[in-house]
């Protein structure tokens, strides 16, 4: 039981980072990034290609994460511009449909060029006991990275001027502008951060299981569910929802069996959404 729960937490931390990337971009500009998981997979494949061609894994992973971060910035500066000019539901719908299209482009390109490419990062050495459970080194490193990334992000948001500016745009965009904050610039930076987080998720997942080129849609969906259950726009909510859903998913997969557990997870998400449309820690 402890072993299963710990595995759930490992997965949940990854879910959490996935959801945070989505929730930030939605909170700031109303964009539901349906290409988030595909961006993650793109980072994994870039990393895998670099490792294949002889780069050290750390360098390759870094380049993969940066590449996707740049992609996020580019998307924000190009495709998303007309979206930000729209208001309300029109904006959300246009952003969602455009990112759906982008997701398919990335998915299609990866499946066309690298159909059998996969990223798997292994760590040498014996398992390390945690609470009496022998944990694989990959899982521990992955979790450490997730926790560090989450911690750094929360600290940046809470205590830096730019982090405060980011939260201000989420809470009241007009107010932010009157304080001299440029929402467009904040959105661009955060889209880049969100891309980097997506890349980081792919790297950490690759430490626990292989990431293949067709994983994008699944990652997007899980990230979306986490973000929605946590309350779109709420960073702590996304972390919380990620860990809860990760644990629930792993435990039910262990005791019930795989397909029912996924359906249960989806049902749980839908139910949460219906009971609390703003999510667990939704704001506004």
């Amino acid at each position: 039981m402890t072993a299963v729960a710990l595995d759930g937490i490992v997965l949940g931390l990854q879910f959490g980072i996935l959801g945070v990337g989505l929730t930030l971009v939605y909170g700031l500009g109303g964009i539901v990034n349906l290409a988030h998981g595909q961006m993650a997979v793109l980072a994994a494949i870039v990393t895998a290609r670099l490792i294949d061609s002889g780069s050290p894994a750390v360098v390759a992973a870094f380049v993969g994460v940066v590449a996707v971060s740049v992609l996020g910035v580019v998307l924000d500066l190009t495709l998303m511009r007309p979206v930000y000019r729209q208001q309300g539901e029109h904006r959300v719908l246009l952003g969602l449909l455009l990112m759906l299209g982008v997701g398919f482009v990335i998915d299609g390109l990866l499946e066309w060029r690298y159909p059998i490419e996969a990223l798997s990062l292994r760590f040498q050495g014996d398992p390390i006991p945690v609470l009496g459970v022998a944990m694989r080194r990959g899982s521990l490193v992955a979790s450490a990275i997730s926790v560090a990334a989450g911690g750094v992000l929360v600290m940046l948001l809470r205590w830096t001027t730019f982090g405060r500016a980011t939260r201000s745009v989420i809470q009241d965009e007009t107010g932010a502008r009157l304080c001299g904050i440029n929402p467009a610039a904040v959105r661009t930076v955060v889209f880049g951060v969100s891309g980097a987080l997506a890349g980081l998720v792919a790297i950490t997942v690759a430490m626990t299981r292989p990431v293949v080129s067709t994983d994008g849609v699944n990652l997007t969906t899980f990230g979306l569910i986490v973000a929605v259950v946590g309350g779109l726009g709420s960073v702590p909510g996304a972390f919380l929802a990620g860990i809860i859903l990760g644990v629930v998913n792993t435990i039910s997969a262990f005791y019930i069996g795989s397909y029912v557990s996924t359906i249960l997870l989806l049902l749980a998400a839908a139910t949460t959404l219906l009971l609390r449309p703003r999510g667990l820690l939704g704001i506004g």
């Binding site: 959300v92 719908l93 455009l98 299209g101 482009v105 359906i263 049902l267 449309p277």
Partner: protein, 329 residues
């Protein structure tokens, strides 16, 4: 009255001539028949999304309920095929109506409706994969019912689907011209006015969800019996939902013949690109991005419009929200 249905008659007559071109080629008949199935899906999606603004990202799953449902009913339980198609369509209708009811009663906006239905899509896919004993799982499901009847011929199935499409178009038109259609046009113009007029918008949304889902279920079921084999991708999200969305966007969201136009255009495009099948997904992604970005009202109506009025593309795009039916005149 006659004018309102004339476009349907003309479109049906034109489509009826298609087999004359390809009758000699079984593979081409398969392609154009599949094109009609997508036209049927697109009309149903257009009713739910285009007319009443509910973003159902579970077109494939609802069609799949029809397909797998009817296949299991007829092959496993010996239900006569026509009856099993009806039952499966009703099941899809109940599910779609329920989704719509949830969306309306919790007043979920566009995205939340989209996310809930997307979640349902995935749950359905997981079910199909998980219950391999019923659905064939990854290996797919061979269907014997219908394999020796009219649906197995080359040309006849085409006309079966054409009849289905014609019926769907008439249904779409009738709904458009009913109180319900007026209600949604009023809503688009002025939400407050429509509410004050006592229009039961919520109820109409659920009707549209249920009717559209029934259309999807029946089309999916007939398709299953026609193909005699269905797999996980037959009703998959990438294969159905994204294509239908792009087709409707191309033809003009909310317009009567837009889905036909979109289905025709993309079926033709698929054939042209048959040697580059791997790139199809990329292409669909690119096309959808371009469509949503530049032609919010649908490429076809926009192009026709700018041809007619020689007005700039941008002014047409801006008019998009208030002009629901361009090609009905």
């Amino acid at each position: 009255m006659i004018r309102a249905y004339a476009p349907i008659a003309i479109a049906t007559a034109v489509l009826a001539c298609v087999p004359a071109l390809f009758a000699g080629s079984p593979s081409m008949m398969t392609v154009v028949t599949a094109g009609l199935v997508f036209a049927a899906y697109a009309i149903a999606f257009n009713l739910i999304f285009g007319s009443t603004g509910q973003l159902f990202l579970c077109t494939g799953a609802l069609a799949g309920i029809g397909g797998f449902g009817s296949a299991i009913l007829s092959d496993r339980l010996g239900v006569p095929m026509v009856l099993s198609i009806g039952i499966a369509g009703a099941a899809a209708s109940v599910v779609g109506g329920a989704l719509s009811w949830v969306a309306v009663s919790r007043s979920l906006g566009t995205i939340f409706t989209g996310i809930v239905t997307l979640t349902f899509s995935l749950a359905f896919q997981n079910f199909v994969l998980g219950r391999g004993d019923l659905t064939g799982g990854e290996n797919g499901l061979r269907i014997s019912a219908g394999s020796d009847g009219v649906l197995d011929h080359q040309v006849a199935p085409y006309y079966v689907f054409l009849a289905l499409v014609a019926v769907y178009l008439v249904l779409f038109r009738r709904i458009q011209r009913s109180r319900m259609g007026w209600a949604f046009r009023a809503l688009r113009d002025d939400e407050v006015a429509a509410k004050l007029a006592g229009v039961a918008v919520a109820r109409y949304r659920i009707y549209a969800g249920a009717i559209g889902s029934a259309m999807l279920g029946v089309a999916g079921a007939v398709f299953a019996h026609h193909r005699s084999f269905i797999g996980t991708t037959t009703y998959g999200f990438a294969n159905v939902d994204i294509r239908v969305l792009v087709m409707v966007a191309f033809g003009g969201i909310g317009s009567l013949l837009g889905p036909i136009l979109g289905a025709t255009a993309f079926t033709a495009l698929d054939e042209v690109l048959v040697d580059y099948a791997q790139l199809r997904e990329v292409l669909y992604g690119v096309v959808s991005v371009v469509l949503f970005l530049g032609f919010r009202r649908g490429a076809a109506p926009t192009i026709v419009d700018s041809w007619n009025r020689r007005s700039s593309r941008w002014s047409v795009a801006k008019r998009a929200d208030s002009a629901p039916e361009a090609d009905s005149r």
